[in-house]
Amino acid sequence: MATATASGPVRDTGIGALLRHRAVAKLLLLALAAAVLVPIVSAKWASGAWPHALTVDLTEPLGRTSDWIIDNRDSHPLFTYFFGHVSNAIVLSVRGVYLVLLAAGWAGVTVAAGLIAWRVAGVRLAVTASAAFAACGLLGMWVPTMQTLALMVVAVLASIVIGALLGLAGGLNDRVFRILRPVLDTMQVLPAYAYLLPFALIFGMGVPAAVIATVVYAAPPMARLTALGLRGADGGVLEAVTSLGATGRQRLFSARLPLAAKQLLLGVNQTIMMALSMAVIASVIGAGGLGDRVYQALSTVDVGQALAGGIPIVLLAVVLDRVTAAAGEKAGAHGQDTSALRGWRGWSVAAAVTVAAALAARFADRLEWPTDWVVNIAPSVNTAKEWMVDHLYTGVPVVGGTADWASHFTTWVLNPVRDGLQGLPWWAALLIVAALAWLIGTWQTALTAVAAMAAIGVFGVWDKSLDTLAQVLAGVAVTLVLGFAIGIAAARSTRFERLLRPVLDVFQTLPQFVYLIPVVALFGIGRAPAVAAAVVYALPAVVRITTQGLREVDAAAMESSRSLGATSWQLLRKVQLPLARPALLLALNQGVVLVLAVVVIGGLVGGGALGYDVVFGIAQGDLATGLVAGVAIVCLGLMLDRVTQPTERRVKKGA
């Protein structure tokens, strides 16, 4: 067995010491299990491919389910009395918010955004917020921005309410927490694209399906952070409150919730960011708004227009992120506000000014964004893109063109990795997964990882999943090399980090659809551009975590090594990197999860495999193909997460 030789560095020789070493013991145990099971398995199914006898074909039942839903959607009580009402309520709420936004007009909304930011986070953010909304208008995207905003308001509120309720249950009850936690942990690693299809089938194309898919994606962080916040409350304070004779409810509202305020606001922040990242993806099932503009621009290969739709999303994300983060910091700090406009007075001033602005615009008959204030950025962006592609595509001296890189990358990296993975006997693949997951985690995580991997085989998409896995591995490798390099540079130079920050912000929130076209123009179609798009998306998170991890390395350790005369290179290699190991592992885990999320979207640029099947499922309304591929991606995500996740969980997911 190959696994037995990989025993790693062991200082102490001798069998006893070997066995005492935990990693080795785990591996030996696995090798033993393999020695027993593998001969049986290979005697039964000689070939290395996933045995046909162990697959379940879901095409037939899933096809029937989908037919049943379509045939009964307008008559069955489940739909008319339950889903129908849910759907109506969503449409009514989104419409309500949308009408309010339209009634306020661009002046009202822009002023209101500024004032809210001012009350919550101060003058600087107020200017940013107003400027961001004005920019949406300038780009000629006012109406789509309002549509997206209306959808987001409803989806975010629903996510917060649902998430907070779940979190409350988990925070107050240990058993609920134990059940909830693995579910929420899992939800955070699921690529959103994979589970759009069932919602579209039940609710039909349109806003209700989009809102519900968004809520499912965005509610988990709220629930997680609420539960963690409540559980983390200071025991002493609770004790004191109880001894004062407070009832359960008083204790909750007067002590536990206020103590958890910072976590709750972090949850709100995370929820908003996740919801916004769904804005474009959900347009595939009819969300409308900005996402739809980006999606339509994609079909005419118009990068400029796609960017015009994507920038408002980035701006909304940045503003909402900063404002909620500032609110979180405020909740953490205990400074007294002494200005004349504190509390309700400030808010009433804000409300009055907003109404005045909205009315002024109405009487000036300027309710809609004036068309002559629109700047069309599309032509210049497209010219820039053409220039870039013409000069980088091929024949660049010394380094070669991007097209050559892509083809070398496919031939020399992607193909061998894919063929290697697919050539691996299936039981060997399972054993490797088990070994990796067990070494880094516990036997439970190993079991989950193996079960997830086996499920892929059972659903009959083993080969395709390994193709996708090969793309993910290649993408992660590139991301880590680039991410660590940039992260180290940023940790060493504050000026570089400051320059980098807005770039990272943009790439983290820019909808992936926007850069799919330039990526194809540079790298052709196929798996290489899919990997490239994934790297672009995952890089910011990896860079951030690396930089932060290196920065947080104990200053005393650094100082003492420096005084011993270590050069800065030695310092990095011998002190900083080893001490920042947990952060680097976290970066790896994040990289894997984020790369997987985009490799799916890579199906749109020729990535093939599971991503293509999901896209195919949505495009053809084919539940059997789409859902199985979606589930396989989820299983891959689960497996990869468990294999790269050191025992304790991280706090949050990327964006």
Binding site: H85, V94, I517, I525
Partner: protein, 321 residues
């Protein structure tokens, strides 16, 4: 006590939800987009398909509906099959260009009667395999499928490995290419671009480099004006030769493209429905508008306007009396 308050609040919440959406059964099929009719105008919702020809249809129809008939037009971009579903639910009122979906037609038009046919668009669609004309001129025999294997080497890419690459496009398009390659014994690998945008970008990139390529493509399509392509002749299409998708060995048919309307809209849609029924134009007209949108990057609205200025006699005939 506590459980009772909890039950009470649950009941109240449920009641509020019901009250909000009107009591009793809620029919999702009678539900419009929340953004529709926002300014009190009559609204028509059109499905925009992802290809530019369909966008040209919608752009012209939208312009006339807005400026001649006073409607507000909402556009939703959905893939072809889900668009049928949305049409049957009334989420969209009309599909202006359909390339033939017999299964959906059976289900929604014949069985459920929620969709009605809206007549020809006036354009005939044809799917086929194409090579760039600059390559076909140098190697005239490539246009017969029997010689394709001879050229497989030249069509190789890193993605297709040792075989030639046959590029397919969006997963929503009708394609038999995998079966064709197998049944005709061709030494090719079908590579799916995954979206039309990716496919067009790749074709343009190849054309810039004057590289040979073989692609699934369709007519009418504006890209032919920019990258001239020649069709490769496959075994001729005969009625019924595509009945069994696994054994298919013949070319794609010529399909007169169709309009489809939501049944309610067709009955109660007033002037808009009548106008859309009359809407019918030629391939040249459609291409002219498509090219303005896709190649000159004009907004669909501006492209429609420029066509409408020049072709008054054509569109006057579509307007209801």
């Amino acid at each position: 006590m506590r459980t009772r308050t909890r039950v009470m609040s649950a009941v109240t919440a449920g009641g509020a939800l019901l009250a909000l959406s009107g009591c009793g059964a809620a029919d999702m099929t009678k539900q419009a987009s929340p953004y529709a009719n926002a300014e009190g105008a009559k609204t028509v919702t059109l499905s925009v398909q992802s290809w530019v020809g369909a966008q040209a249809d919608v752009a012209v129809a939208e312009y006339l509906l807005k400026n001649e008939l006073g409607y507000r037009v909402d556009k939703v971009q959905i893939d072809e099959v889900p668009a049928w579903d949305a049409l049957s639910q009334g989420r969209v009122d009309a599909i202006l260009e359909d390339w033939g979906h017999p299964e959906q037609e059976q289900r929604y038009v014949k069985d459920k009667k929620t969709i009605v046919r809206g007549g020809d668009v006036g354009v005939t669609g044809h799917i086929g395999w194409y090579v760039p004309t600059y390559f076909a001129k140098k190697h005239p025999d490539v246009t017969d499928w029997k010689n394709l294997n001879k050229y497989a080497d030249q069509f190789k890419t890193s993605e297709s490995g040792s075989k030639g690459q046959l590029m397919d496009g969006s997963p929503s398009y009708v394609t038999n290419d995998k079966a064709l390659v197998k049944n005709l014994g061709l030494d090719y690998e079908v590579v799916f671009a995954g979206s039309e945008a990716a496919q067009i970008t790749q074709i343009e990139q190849f054309a810039k480099q004057k590289k040979p390529f073989l692609t699934y493509w369709y007519k009418p399509q504006w890209l032919f004006e920019k990258v001239p392509m020649t069709e490769v002749k496959l075994p001729a299409y005969k009625e019924g030769c595509d009945a069994d998708p696994a054994k298919i060995k013949c070319a794609y048919p010529h399909t007169p493209l169709q309009k489809y309307f939501n049944a309610d809209f067709a009955k109660k849609g007033g002037e808009a429905a009548e106008f859309l029924k009359n809407f019918r134009w030629s391939e040249e007209d459609q291409n002219e508008v498509s090219l303005m949108i896709a190649d000159k990057k004009m907004s669909p609205d501006a492209a429609a306007k420029s066509w409408i200025k020049k072709n008054e006699s054509t569109w006057r005939a579509w307007l209801p009396e």
